[in-house]
Structure formats: structure tokens, C-alpha cells
């Protein structure tokens, strides 16, 4: 770098407007060249001198106060303006809504119903929302559905009371006390039976028919240690009936000792309880000897 190169960059150097490389080059030159060093120092002190010796004026306190006050006043005015504008737009909005309702009363009527609909929905979801059926209700309903739709085959298809009784004696090998059901009134007819498993327990399924070909399913389930207390319950004539609903079928359960019975159909819950109470009865113990073939 020559003295002329350095001189050309003099002010950019003093004003801190050069990149690092140029700075180092100039610095290197100044350190070596006494003449340039003096010149740069002179210019630097002159720059400083101009800054230091130039007159410093201060604005009068009155004017300063005026400006500060004017600014704060304007800011306050603007703030309240904007607030008022905001309120104005809110008013506009609400008055427009009122105008619309005045023009179209039907809309107002519809709007009036909204709170009722909303509260109705809220009540429904809070209190009447159907809870998912328990596994036992689901299985019993599915089993009934299969028998009603002919997807399941009975082991014994017979309405003969004696035949059924004999078959039930066979079920006793199942190892749980199966009482054989019998029709208790002329309206109820037994159609047949089969053994099966429900909720992992040994059970016997019985098809029933009531007037007008209405199909019922009676399940006799090994209920030892089984808990059905979580189901909805109702006390009828001193006996607890549990019930549930799945797939459009009503299921009513009751317990006798270690056996759980269930009755399933499309019929209403009260009718199911009626059938359970009046339509069928359980015969306990072994069937009478006379039902068996007499051995010589």
C-alpha cells in the first residue's frame, strides 16, 4: 500500500466504514510510515475536535414540557378515540342483529329455540346418554340374535316337555345345577335347547315362543362368583331383576343361588319380567324316573 492509497481511504478509515482487511492494510501502512501516521492522527484529532468544540444547544425546559405534554395529550385522545370506535362497532353489530330479527320474525323465533335445544342436548348427554352395554348383555343379545335369525342350531328341537327334561338331565353332567324350565302358562311354548358358553361360563340356551310367534331366549348360566350388580336393577315383587339393552333387544337377568337366568327378546322390559315370573317355572332335581325308559 502506498501513501496515496492510504490517503484515499483516510476518511472511511476514520469513520469506521471499511472492512477488516482494508483496515489491517491501512493500519500496517500507518505503523510503518511516519508521515501518514502523523497525517492520520492529525485528521483524527481534528474530527474529535470538531465534535468537542462545536456548540451544544439545549432546548428550553418550557418547550420541552410543551412537547411532552402535547404528545401525551394526543396519545390519550387517540386511545379514547379508538375505544369509542370499538364501542361504536359493537353497537353497530348488535343493532344490525336486532334489525334482522325485526325484519324476519321467523329468525327470531328460531333463535329463541336455540337455548332450549342446547340445554336439552346438554341434559341428554349428561343424564340419558346410553352407556355401552356390559359384555354379558352384549353376548346374551348376540346369542339371541343368532337364534332368532336361524344362524344357530339347537341340539334338541322339541316342544315335548319330557324330551326336554331328559335332555336337561344330560346337561347336569355339565357340573352345575341346571334346573329344567317348563312352560307355566298356555301362552308360553318351549322350542328346544342347546348347551353353550356365555361370558366364558357353562350355560344352557333355551328357545321360547310366546303368542304371535314372538321369540324369546332363555339362558341358564353358571353364575357362581359372577357379578352382575353393576347392571341397572329393579325390584319387582321382592326379587331383583337386572336389565340391559343391546342391538334392539331387551335383556332381563335374575339370580337364583349360583345360577343366573336371562330372558331376551324384542319385547319391553316389563313383559320380559312378566314372562320370567309367570311364563316359565324351573323344575329342580332329577327328572322323575318315569321319564326314563324302564329297564327290565
Amino acid at each position: 500500500m502506498t501513501c496515496n492509497d492510504a490517503k484515499e481511504m483516510l476518511y472511511e478509515y476514520l469513520d469506521n466504514e471499511i472492512d477488516r482487511d482494508s483496515y489491517l492494510q491501512i493500519k500496517g501502512h500507518i505503523d510503518r510510515c511516519r508521515k501518514c501516521c502523523d497525517k492520520f492522527e492529525f485528521e483524527q484529532s481534528l474530527k474529535k475536535l470538531i465534535k468537542d468544540r462545536s456548540q451544544k444547544f439545549t432546548i428550553s425546559q418550557t418547550v420541552r414540557g410543551d412537547i411532552v405534554k402535547a404528545l401525551s395529550d394526543m396519545r390519550k385522545a387517540r386511545e379514547s378515540d379508538t375505544k369509542r370506535e370499538k364501542e361504536q362497532t359493537n353497537e353497530d353489530k348488535s343493532s344490525r342483529v336486532i334489525q334482522l330479527f325485526l325484519k324476519r320474525p321467523a329468525y327470531a323465533l328460531a333463535a329463541a329455540f336455540i337455548p332450549f335445544i342446547v340445554s336439552g342436548l346438554a341434559v341428554y348427554f349428561a343424564f340419558f346418554k346410553p352407556t355401552p352395554p356390559s359384555p354379558i348383555i352384549r353376548e346374551i343379545a348376540e346369542c339371541h340374535d343368532q337364534h332368532v335369525n336361524g344362524n344357530a342350531v339347537l341340539e334338541l328341537a322339541s316342544s315335548d316337555q319330557n324330551e326336554l327334561l331328559r335332555h336337561f338331565n344330560k346337561f347336569r353332567n355339565f357340573n352345575f345345577a341346571v334346573a329344567a324350565p317348563e312352560s307355566n302358562d298356555h301362552k308360553t311354548k318351549l322350542l328346544g335347547c342347546k348347551d353353550c358358553y356365555l361370558v366364558g361360563r357353562k350355560s344352557v340356551h333355551v328357545d321360547l315362543e310366546r303368542k304371535l310367534n314372538r321369540k324369546f331366549s332363555l339362558e341358564i348360566i353358571d353364575g357362581s362368583g359372577m357379578n352382575i350388580n353393576h347392571l341397572n336393577e329393579e325390584l319387582v315383587d321382592g326379587r331383583v331383576y337386572y336389565f340391559g339393552r343391546h342391538k334392539g333387544y331387551n335383556v332381563v337377568l335374575w339370580r337364583e343361588g349360583d345360577t343366573v337366568y336371562s330372558l331376551t327378546s324384542e319385547a319391553r322390559k316389563n313383559e320380559l319380567i312378566h314372562v320370567a315370573k309367570e311364563g316359565i317355572r324351573m323344575r329342580r332335581g332329577m327328572a322323575p324316573q318315569t321319564f326314563f325308559p324302564v329297564r327290565e
Binding site: 492522527e41 481534528l46 451544544k56 432546548i59 396519545r75
Partner: protein
């Protein structure tokens, strides 16, 4: 859209920072107008404009430079001044160097022991010389030497390319040095010619 409260708060903070530059702005206004009354009017007007246009201020940029720009434009509009470089000074001042002149006059020995002390040669001339610079020169010297704005900020304030800023600063300094020299000579501080 920014919430009203948020932008309002930001504006209020900016205004507070702007108020800190009041003396700086007044200083500049004094140099441009030359009397207190006009300078105070200018500063007042600058703050009112700032308040009105604060929402247009780009937050990444230099608030001080932005305020200078407002004041400068207000000054130009109000006093119908043209802050253009005077043509005549171009001719013979470009090569003037105070250092070379003083060094030459005082038979300065570049390799001697005593270093050249500028303070010993010029004192109050600075004020006078600065005052008598043409406005276009005065303002760039003010921005750069007194207020420390960068070339880029100056170019933004005066609305000229950086190259123009550089050359104008160069000429301003040369002229200032010449004026300093002349005043010092007139007052006899320096033995001239």
C-alpha cells in the same frame, strides 16, 4: 391484525425513546435555522409528525436517523431551502489539506521529536467554521462527526446514494479545514503567509 393494546404499547415506548433525542434534534435545528425560535418550532413540528406517522416507522431501522429525516424535510418545506451542494466550492478546495498547509507553514519537521498538536493551533474557530459551512455540507459533517451516523444512515436521511455521501463528506471536510485555516490566520493564531 395486531391487538390494539400491543401496538399502542409499542408506539408509546417508541415515543419515549424519541423524546430522548430532543436536544440532539434541537442542536441540529439550531445549526440549520440559526435561531432558537425557528429551531424550537422545527423540533415541535418534528415530534407532532413523528406521532402521526409512528405506525410507518420500520422498527429495524435507526430511530434517530428517522427523526433527522423528518426534521430535515420539515425544514426544507418550511423554509424553501435547497440542501444541494454549492457548485462553486468544487473548484478549488478539493485538494486543500489543513495538515499539509500547517505543516508547511510552520516548517514542520515530519521526523522531528515534537508531535503536531492541533489543539494548540485552533480553538474557537471550529464553531465559526462549522457555522459558515453551506447547509448541505454542514449537515453531513453534523451527522457523521457530531452524531456518529453511518454512511448508510446518512444516505437514508439525505436521500442520496452512499457514494454521494462519501464525496460530500470529503468536500465538506476539506472546506471546513480551509475555513478553519482562514479564521485561524485572520485571528493571528497561526502565522500565515
Amino acid at each position: 391484525m395486531k391487538s390494539f393494546g400491543e401496538s399502542e404499547e409499542k408506539a408509546s415506548t417508541l415515543e419515549q425513546s424519541a423524546l430522548e433525542y430532543m436536544d440532539t434534534l434541537f442542536n441540529f435545528a439550531m445549526r440549520m435555522t440559526g435561531n432558537r425560535e425557528d429551531a424550537e418550532d422545527l423540533v415541535q413540528e418534528t415530534y407532532m409528525k413523528m406521532h402521526r406517522f409512528l405506525h410507518t416507522f420500520d422498527e429495524g431501522s435507526n430511530l434517530k436517523a428517522w427523526l433527522f429525516k423528518i426534521l430535515r424535510n420539515t425544514f426544507i418545506n418550511k423554509y424553501r431551502k435547497k440542501l444541494r451542494e454549492p457548485q462553486e466550492v468544487h473548484d478549488n478546495n478539493d485538494d486543500f489539506s489543513l495538515y499539509d498547509t500547517i505543516a508547511g507553514e510552520s516548517e514542520y519537521d515530519p521526523y522531528g521529536k515534537s508531535s503536531f498538536k492541533i489543539e494548540e493551533h485552533i480553538e474557537d474557530e471550529v464553531k465559526e467554521a462549522l457555522e459558515n459551512l453551506p447547509l448541505a455540507f454542514k449537515e453531513v459533517v453534523f451527522y457523521s462527526d457530531l452524531e456518529g451516523l453511518t454512511y448508510e444512515e446518512i444516505s437514508d436521511v439525505i436521500g442520496c446514494p452512499i457514494g454521494t455521501v462519501k464525496s460530500r463528506l470529503y468536500r465538506s471536510r476539506k472546506l471546513l479545514q480551509k475555513l478553519l485555516w482562514e479564521y485561524a490566520k485572520k485571528k493571528g493564531y497561526l502565522k500565515g503567509e
